[in-house]
């Protein structure tokens, strides 16, 4: 058998973004030993890239805000497919989690009276996002990292988990390799927390990094866990579209929160043309009122640019298809126009959106204080993920917990901006707490040598294929093009079926992905292994998208353009069948508690 080293912890956390770090801090604070593994260096996880802010009903800027409004906004945004218990806990606990970050050293922007400042974001009724300019994620991850390194957590950086180890039903550890020299590692753990983030690398145009290959989703699925809502992938309306090499890089919604407007080639603010019924009462129908809202007038209704992401993305696609797009196939996002209202607009924009200013100046030669940006939809976030219990974050497999983007439930059919960062700390904490509890109540499992040697042989296989094998980057890029085309922002039955056929062919090719030279920091080898995960999550998304015969939230079916009441009652769940086939099951949504239903009604 291949050689490996072994580490043993009570709780193993996989992933060191906001969710993983918060889980590890909690677990280790409850008196159990805790190991934390991540693919990149500490502090480089996706969380570092989050820009706009963290949603929490602190009511610092608008005293009318409360957890009930935040809850209702989240449910409406998710089109009521959310796990309502998670939406409730999230809305109630987010303020404490934000204040806790401050107690650990985070330095957020302030209101005039010295409290944490909050900004507007799409789908949130009141200004709700605690933020630091447009680098909120950096503030969060650095705060958690700098606090976490003093909590006795054992950090294993640049270590990639390739399989969860099981003992009967239960997850009891993980098999991984070290990126630097390719050595194998076995982690034994009484409980495992998955906090691996998203799946955006399955698509060609994406705001996500190489890390987002759906590892946590796929590993949990392969270990027998249910994945839920995998048809719901958020395409953020504003990614960069030009130049080609930066296509997909995110332009924060904060630009619109600060007053940025969307226009087409005719100069028209097209978002006024289509305001969904559920939002007519809260959306302004003229420019003047929209501006008043942005500047804090509490009697004004929000501008239509701040409608939910799914809707804004569809409107942009509509404009482009109708031939009213920008020169490079997007639309215009204009923040420079605020100079009509603000005398020192240039300084104001640079202060509020420093990294956007930088990003456009340096990557696109565009000065956003003077000219509009060109933007279009980009793959951004997956609402779907590992199905968990709302309170404990345990998956359907004992001993396996999940939190953050790789878990499902909170966001339903569409996530509101800012609800992810708060999700990470609320449910990261809960996952850590309950994983520690599980570890205290359970003994160490038995590692199955057979499983270990099989996965080790699988990991080594790309080197044995030598010249007869295929370049893994080519396979990955073909997959991305196919998914973008057929499982992208608008979907259709025949295309989804074609996608499933294409996935079978890609799977066969992935079996021949080859690696060369040796195991030292070898991206080709890493990519060859990642393919399995990418293919698994792609299939889960395509199958779930085929199953949902309606358009709701982030899922748009050309052949079923409307909402369907029957579909409103179910979540789609995929799981691995005994013959290895992917099964799909429709699970009825648990009826919502009366008091919560009432809150929803009151906020309609």
């Amino acid at each position: 058998m291949s050689k490996y080293t072994t580490h043993e912890y009570d709780v193993l956390v996989i992933g060191a973004g906001g969710a993983g770090l918060r889980a590890a801090i909690e677990a280790s604070g409850s008196g159990v030993t805790c190991g934390l593994v991540c693919k990149s260096l500490l502090g480089k996880a996706h969380t570092v890239m989050a820009e706009g802010g963290m949603a929490a009903a602190l009511a610092n800027v608008d005293e009318r805000d409360s957890w009930t409004t935040h809850f209702a906004d989240t449910m409406r945004g998710g089109q009521y497919l959310n796990n309502w218990r998670m939406a409730e806990l999230h809305a109630k606990e987010a303020p404490d989690r934000v204040r806790e970050l401050e107690a650990w050293g985070a330095v957020m922007d302030r209101t005039k009276d010295g409290k944490i400042l909050q900004r507007n974001f799409g789908g949130h009724k009141y200004p709700r996002l605690a933020h630091v300019g447009d680098r909120t994620g950096l503030e969060m991850i650095r705060t958690l990292q700098d606090h976490g390194i003093h909590q006795g957590i054992q950090v294993h950086m640049e270590v990639t988990v390739v399989e969860l180890l099981t003992d009967g039903e239960r997850v009891i550890g993980a098999f991984a390799y070290e990126r630097d020299h390719g050595r194998f590692v076995v982690f034994k753990a009484k409980a495992v927390v998955m906090a691996t983030g998203g799946i955006g690398r399955a698509f060609r145009i994406t705001s996500n990094s190489w890390e987002y290959t759906g590892d946590g989703h796929a590993l949990a699925y392969l270990a027998g866990a249910d994945l839920m809502d995998m048809e719901f992938i958020q395409f953020h309306p504003t990614g960069m579209v030009w130049p080609p090499s930066v296509r997909g890089i995110l332009v924060t919604e904060g630009v619109r929160g600060e007053g940025g407007i969307l226009t087409n080639s005719e100069g028209r603010r097209f978002m006024f043309d289509d305001i969904p019924d559920a939002y007519t009462s809260s959306t302004s129908d003229n420019e003047e009122e929209g501006w008043r809202y942005v500047t804090g007038d509490k009697s004004a209704r929000r501008p239509p640019e701040l409608l939910t992401r799914d809707h804004v993305a569809r409107c942009i696609v509509r404009e482009v298809k109708a031939g009213r797009g920008s020169p490079h196939g997007g639309v215009f996002l204009d923040i420079a126009w605020i100079k009509q209202h603000i005398s020192d607009s240039e300084a104001h924009i640079k202060k509020k959106l420093p990294s956007m200013y930088h990003q456009f100046k340096e990557l696109a030669n565009v000065d956003i204080t003077q000219e509009p940006m060109e933007v279009g939809p980009t793959t951004h976030y997956v609402m779907g993920g590992i199905k968990v219990d709302g309170d404990s974050q345990m998956s359907t497999v004992p001993g396996l917990f999940a939190a953050g983007e790789c878990a499902a439930g909170l966001h339903g059919a569409n996530r509101l901006g800012g609800n992810s960062l708060s999700d990470l700390v609320v449910f990261g904490k809960r996952a850590g707490e309950y994983a520690a509890k599980f570890a205290k109540d359970n003994s160490t499992g038995q590692v199955n040598d057979d499983q270990v040697s099989k996965i080790a042989a699988w990991a080594e296989a790309p080197f044995e294929r030598g010249n007869s094998g295929e370049n893994p980057f080519t396979i990955q890029s073909d997959l991305q093009v196919m998914m973008q085309d057929k499982v992208g922002i608008v979907r259709e039955e025949n295309e989804l079926n074609e996608a499933l056929d294409a996935l079978e062919k890609l799977k066969a090719r992935a079996e021949h992905a080859a690696a060369d030279v040796n195991r030292d920091y070898n991206p080709g080898w890493h990519t060859a292994m990642d393919l399995r995960n990418l293919l698994t999550v792609s299939e889960a998304s395509a199958r779930s998208a085929l199953q949902r015969t309606e358009s709701r939230g982030a899922h748009t079916r050309l052949d079923h353009p409307d909402k369907n009441d029957e579909e409103a009652k179910v979540n789609n769940v995929v799981r691995k069948g005994s013959d290895g086939q992917m099964l799909i099951e429709r699970i009825p949504i648990t009826p919502i508690r009366n008091d919560l239903q009432q809150i929803i009604e009151e906020n309609k």
Binding site: M49, A103, V107, L138, I149, S477, A515, G524
Partner: protein
């Protein structure tokens, strides 16, 4: 744009490395990191480099491009000459793992030894604190740091004199300054700045400030104030006394 030659330093140690030439097509708007990825896809799948965000936010892709320490993802091809080969090398102040990837774990060890944030007791009625924007602005500059370690890479104390055991380097002065100037912090790190972090080795060459992709004024805003505090506390008894009676720091 045309085919461009990239001369990339490959190998698993700085001593045994060699330059290998690769040609690849450059199109409008490409950055150096795009070229490296293209080379990986076309001809060298095992070419090692780090990256995450591709937007200058994570500080993973630090390298030396034509001898200049920079982020690969923020270096546009149309800002560097392409009529000659473009050289790409890893950071030199850290041991090499492979190709463009270096072992920066030393930085994480150093940080761990710096005393952590210790806030004063919450003083607002709701159990939190009040802080004014003007008071947090200064710290926010330091907190922009993306830990790219380019400043560490160019500092001669580390790069040429290899004082890694004694000297914590500009990144960690920025980190310490952020803690020391945090409006809520009550810890005292000044003795450590002098004796453990050995700030005395810094002779204010400002090389670190020049390379910082976040434009943090490392020397003027972090290092010099720290040096002054060391001076106050250890070499000026009158001011030291004065400091004791000053609330906070």
């Amino acid at each position: 744009m045309p085919q461009v030659t990239f001369r990339i330093s490959r190998g698993s140690t700085h001593q045994d490395s060699q330059f290998v030439d690769y040609q690849t097509d450059i199109t409008e708007g490409m950055v150096v990191l795009d070229a490296v990825h293209q080379i990986q896809e076309e001809s060298a799948p095992d070419l090692a480099c780090r990256w995450n965000c591709k937007a200058g936010k994570c500080g993973s892709c630090s390298a030396e491009i034509n001898g200049k320490p920079r982020l690969m993802c923020m270096t546009r091809m149309d800002t560097i000459p392409t009529d000659q080969p473009v050289t790409i090398e890893p950071m030199k102040a850290f041991p090499r793992i492979r190709d463009l990837v270096t072992d920066v774990s030393w930085n994480y060890e150093v940080k761990k030894r710096i005393k952590k944030f210790k806030p004063r007791k919450p003083d607002a009625p709701d159990g939190t604190w009040r802080m004014q924007q003007v008071d947090v602005d200064r710290v926010q500059e330091f907190r922009k740091c993306i830990e790219c370690f380019l400043c560490q890479n160019v500092c001669h104390v580390l790069r040429d004199h290899h004082k890694h055991d004694e000297f914590s380097g500009p990144r960690h002065y920025v980190y310490t300054a952020a803690l020391e100037m945090h409006p809520l912090d009550t810890e005292d790190r000044i003795k450590d700045v002098k004796d453990e972090q050995n700030i005395g080795y810094c002779n204010i060459t400002k090389c670190c400030t020049k390379v910082c992709p976040e434009h943090i004024t490392i020397t003027d805003n972090a290092i010099i104030p720290l040096k002054e505090r060391v001076g106050d506390e250890f070499y000026d008894p009158v001011r030291k006394l004065f400091r004791i009676f000053r609330p906070g720091k």
